[in-house]
């Protein structure tokens, strides 16, 4: 009657082993590490860097306990673990000297850091410690609101400028083209002009909708067209603005040398930035808000300039900049265009040759200037400069082959697809697509974080001890089973959370404690039910069977309703509430499994095979005297 097939025992055993394995990494703490990331957006950290640093350390007889290369979006990071902080500092200084020969203009950010110290074989099976939330670790948290209206307004402004140029080129008379709120209004002297304009614009811009109407106010009586972006276009403008902002933030945050920055999209127009371990809020904010700038200038390749360059002097009226490979170039001082005129840069392919290329889109003003400059300077080179932290670097300096009138510029030549993607990213990363404001900010000191962990751990531990002690005293052997089941539950929950790489916060710890308290419910239901059946005069074996069977329905019902609540919190909660809800929901599932399957397996294993079971060690079964 109370026997499980072998596979059920094995399931419980496997669950237990997995629970232990995946909970383990949380107990190893952290070991000192050094992290190398790029300090400039023109320099990339590649896996090859790992070997380079490795050999550096070997030559200096510095032993590492582990290394890793990680790619986060376009950004690579290398990390080395060391046995203690002395070695860590020594290694940091060595790597710093080797990678940044010029301390005034560092190419790489070499930062001290902490990494989980769990052994290699655990990381290999994907067992990593839980990520500690800021309240347990210390650091800075920002919630940024991206001003989508700003992004859209800017787009409409440039569309209005485009329309003016298009209609002027085609000699279609207008009575004014203006942006009004989220639309562009074009007014015409007569219906004929309007219908010609409509046909022309429709054929050119398929991402806009046009609506005919009659003018109001100052445009009274004139035929007008109202142009709006289609919903799909608006969505793509917004999502690309958000993506670009996130990329830009990534590049900037790398300068801080933060251990594990979290940069996530939240909702359709918000970005969360978390910088664990950073205490200097002012600096973090300054870096988040900084804009890199782009400039386009002509290159001076005249013989005088070339010989001056060889001699190491800079003639009057020119400035010397290096390109990404470190080759010097002499540029004219006059700035032809700035990043403001560049609307977009995308990697693509040349239509004819299928070579990799970068496509630039200039705004109207930019397009006009570009047309004039290219017409007058065919055969010369034009450099695109990126200024970061006041230091300029030439991203690319292509030769002008012909006049480029339309504002659609293509850069191609001897570049790989990867180069094209890099250049496009650099040109985009220079600026934020839309302005951002900080709407939420938290700073937690490191000492407070350590205290919070301590408090949460203490609260859970003592509560657990009290509950286990009570169960064993009250239910004897069955109480021991329940306590083992409860331990299995905690292991499974921690293991799952570690496997999901959940972020543990103080409310999360509180949820774990609460889950333990509530998990007891299932055990109490079962044990009370068994006692009740014994009271009714059932034999011990039958009492066990009926007790588990009957309690199961109740446990399922009560846990499902609790799960409904947990899911509601997951859907509508943010931040700490959501962290609480994740633990709450997982805890319900693990407690059902451990109480119903885990404890039953133990009971069956110890009692199932006994034919003549006289009584159960489940505490006093009191019977009323009739």
């Amino acid at each position: 009657m109370n026997r499980y097939p072998l596979w059920k025992y094995l399931t419980v055993l496997v669950a237990l082993v997995l629970g232990v394995l995946y909970t383990l990494p949380n107990f190893f703490g952290e070991s000192p590490a050094v992290q190398v990331s790029s300090a400039k957006s023109t320099i990339k950290v590649e896996p090859e860097m790992l070997q380079r640093v490795q050999s550096l350390l070997q030559q200096a007889d510095i032993t590492t306990t582990g290394s890793s290369f990680e790619r986060n979006g376009p950004v690579g990071t290398i990390r080395f673990r060391f046995a203690n902080t002395d070695i860590q500092i020594k290694a940091r200084d060595l790597i710093e000297r080797a990678l940044n020969p010029n301390p005034q203009d560092p190419d790489y950010t070499v930062a001290l850091n902490l990494l989980p110290a769990s052994p290699q074989w655990l990381s290999a099976i994907g067992a990593n410690p839980m990520y500690l939330g800021l309240d347990l670790r210390g650091g800075v948290h920002f919630l940024l609101q991206v001003d989508m209206e700003g992004a859209l307004t800017a787009r409409y402004d440039s569309i209005a400028t485009d329309f003016r140029a298009t209609l002027r080129d085609q000699r279609i008379p207008t009575s004014g083209i203006e942006r009004e709120a989220m639309s562009v209004v074009l007014a015409f002297p007569d219906d004929g002009a309007r219908s010609r304009a409509l046909a022309l614009l429709r054929s050119r811009s398929n991402d806009m909708t046009f609506q005919e109407g009659a003018g109001q106010g100052t445009l009274e009586g004139r035929p007008i067209l109202t142009a709006r972006m289609t919903d799909a276009t608006i969505a793509s403008v917004q999502s690309s603005a958000l993506r670009q902002n996130i990329t830009t933030l990534h590049n900037r945050i790398n300068e801080l040398g933060v251990a594990e920055p979290v940069i996530q999209q939240q909702g359709s127009d918000r970005i969360i930035v978390q910088l664990p371990g950073v205490q200097d809020v002012a600096r973090a904010k300054e870096i988040l808000g900084r804009t890199a700038t782009l400039e386009i200038r002509l290159v001076d390749d005249s013989p005088t300039a070339t010989s001056a360059l060889a001699a190491g002097t800079v003639p009057f009226g020119l400035e010397r900049y290096d390109d990404t490979d470190g080759r010097p170039l002499l540029l004219r001082r006059q700035v032809i265009l700035t990043g403001e005129n560049l609307q977009d840069a995308q990697a693509g392919r040349d239509q004819q040759t299928q070579q990799a290329a970068v496509h630039l889109t200039l705004d109207n003003k930019g397009a006009r200037i570009f047309r004039d400059v290219t017409r007058d300077n065919i055969g010369r080179r034009m450099a695109i400069l990126l200024f970061e932290k006041g230091i300029g670097q030439v991203v690319t300096a292509p030769v002008i082959r012909s006049e480029i009138p339309g504002g659609q510029v293509q850069i191609s030549g001897s570049m790989s697809a990867e180069d094209a993607a890099d250049i496009a990213l650099l040109l985009r990363a220079g600026s934020l697509a839309a302005p951002m404001t900080i709407i939420e900010e938290r700073t937690i000191g490191p000492s407070l974080g350590a205290e919070n962990i301590e408090k949460g751990f203490q609260a859970t531990l003592w509560g657990f001890v009290a509950v286990v002690a009570f169960m064993i005293v009250y239910y004897r052997l069955f109480g021991v089973f329940s306590s083992i089941g409860l331990t299995l539950n905690v292991l499974l929950l921690l293991g799952l959370l570690s496997l999901l790489q959940a972020t543990l916060t103080l409310p999360g710890i509180a949820a774990i404690a609460l889950t333990i308290g509530m998990a007891i419910d299932a055990n109490v239901l079962i044990n009370e039910r068994i006692r009740e059946e014994l009271r009714r005069g059932e034999s011990p074996q039958a009492a066990i069977n009926i007790g588990f069977e009957r309690a199961w329905g109740t446990i399922l019902d009560s846990n499902l309703t609790t799960l409904i609540v947990g899911i509601a919190l997951l859907i509508f909660g943010t931040g700490p509430v959501r962290g609480f809800a994740v633990v709450h929901c997982l805890g319900i599932l693990t407690s059902m499994f451990s109480a119903v399957v885990g404890v039953r397996a133990m009971v069956n294993l110890t009692h199932g095979g006994r034919k003549r079971l006289k009584d159960l060690s489940i505490g006093t079964v009191w019977k009323p005297k009739d």
Binding site: I439, E440, A510, F580, P624
Partner: protein
């Protein structure tokens, strides 16, 4: 050990009417306090800046107040937080000034006044986030109510669904009433705690309903009131033990969890004890007033559902 030596059914429902009146009065009082006193909402809901600082020895609160007032703030709070060395300062939203600027100016002023001040944390929440949190909290509440009603109506019967949800709301409103009456700080963890109580107290009612249904199946021709009394009597031991265990956990959080978890555990404590009370005297008695019958829960077996036995060839 056995705490519950109950030899005959306890007539819980005998006093249902009186207790329901008390519940109603408590409930209305809670509603009044919520309306007229309102909550002491934490910064997460109101927006503003919270700065926690810690001194080497006990904090000079009056000096801190003077310093803050000296910076031109009028509507602010300065209080001890946890220990006598830690101070919590709340500043209202300042137009056009970010919190980092606020906290830096304040820290500079405080350090000038007293040496050895350590900044422990700064939290700034914009006004918009607060509004969203309130909206999301209410939406979550609505979702939970609808979800539970549907679940209970399907699993049991609509009368039980109504009873369960009323009992649930009773608990939540009374917890909120406590927070309004005592002006305890209502923060995000407290909200999570209140919502956890929602699940918790319905869980309670479900266990009793389960028993009522089972007893209807077992016993025929018994008064509804006696069946309900019996169900509660049979489950009361489990109810008290379970809640005792959870309470041990919550008590541990109250003692060791520090100030951050203080009100969270307080909300849970109130929720646990009112949860027991309401599952017995609110959920069960409302189900009784609504006139739960045996036929509601025990579906009569239809004649044509019985499968005839047939012979067939062995394969």
């Amino acid at each position: 050990m056995e705490f519950f030596r109950i030899s005959r059914t306890i007539p819980f429902m005998r006093h249902a009417l009186a207790l329901n009146m008390i519940s109603l009065i408590t409930f209305l009082a809670a509603v009044l306090f919520i309306i007229f006193r309102g909550f002491n909402l934490s910064i997460e809901f109101t927006g503003g800046t919270v700065i926690e600082i810690s001194y080497a020895d006990s904090a000079p609160l009056s000096e801190v107040r003077e310093t803050v007032a000296g910076l031109g703030y009028t509507d602010f709070q300065v209080q001890n937080f946890g220990t006598s060395r830690d101070v919590l300062i709340r500043l209202p939203l300042a137009e056009g000034q970010t919190s980092a600027a606020q906290s830096e100016v304040l820290m500079a002023a405080l350090t000038e006044a007293t040496q050895g001040v350590e900044l422990r944390r700064v939290e700034y929440v914009g006004p918009q986030i607060g509004r969203e949190l309130v909206e999301n909290g209410l939406l979550a509440l609505l979702f939970v109510i609808i979800g539970i009603v549907i679940y209970l109506a399907v699993r049991f019967e609509w009368k039980f669904a109504v009873a369960g949800v009323v009992a649930n709301m009773h608990d939540v409103v009374i917890i909120l009433g406590f927070f309004a009456f005592f002006q305890w700080e209502f923060s995000l963890p407290v909200l999570a705690g209140v919502l956890a109580v929602l699940g918790y107290s319905v869980n309670e009612s479900v266990v009793i309903m389960d028993r009522i249904r089972e007893n209807f199946r077992r016993q025929r021709n018994v008064e509804v009131r006696d069946v309900i009394d019996g169900a509660i009597t049979q489950t009361i031991s489990r109810t008290i033990i379970t809640h005792g265990s959870t309470q041990m956990m919550v008590l541990s959080m109250l003692i060791f969890g520090g100030p951050t978890l203080h009100y969270f555990s307080l909300a849970l404590t109130i929720g646990i004890w009112f949860g027991i009370y309401s599952s017995v005297f609110v959920a069960a008695s409302i189900a009784m007033w609504l006139g739960v019958k045996r036929e509601d829960l025990v579906k009569p077996v239809k004649k044509d559902d019985t499968v005839e036995e047939t012979y067939s060839e062995q394969s």
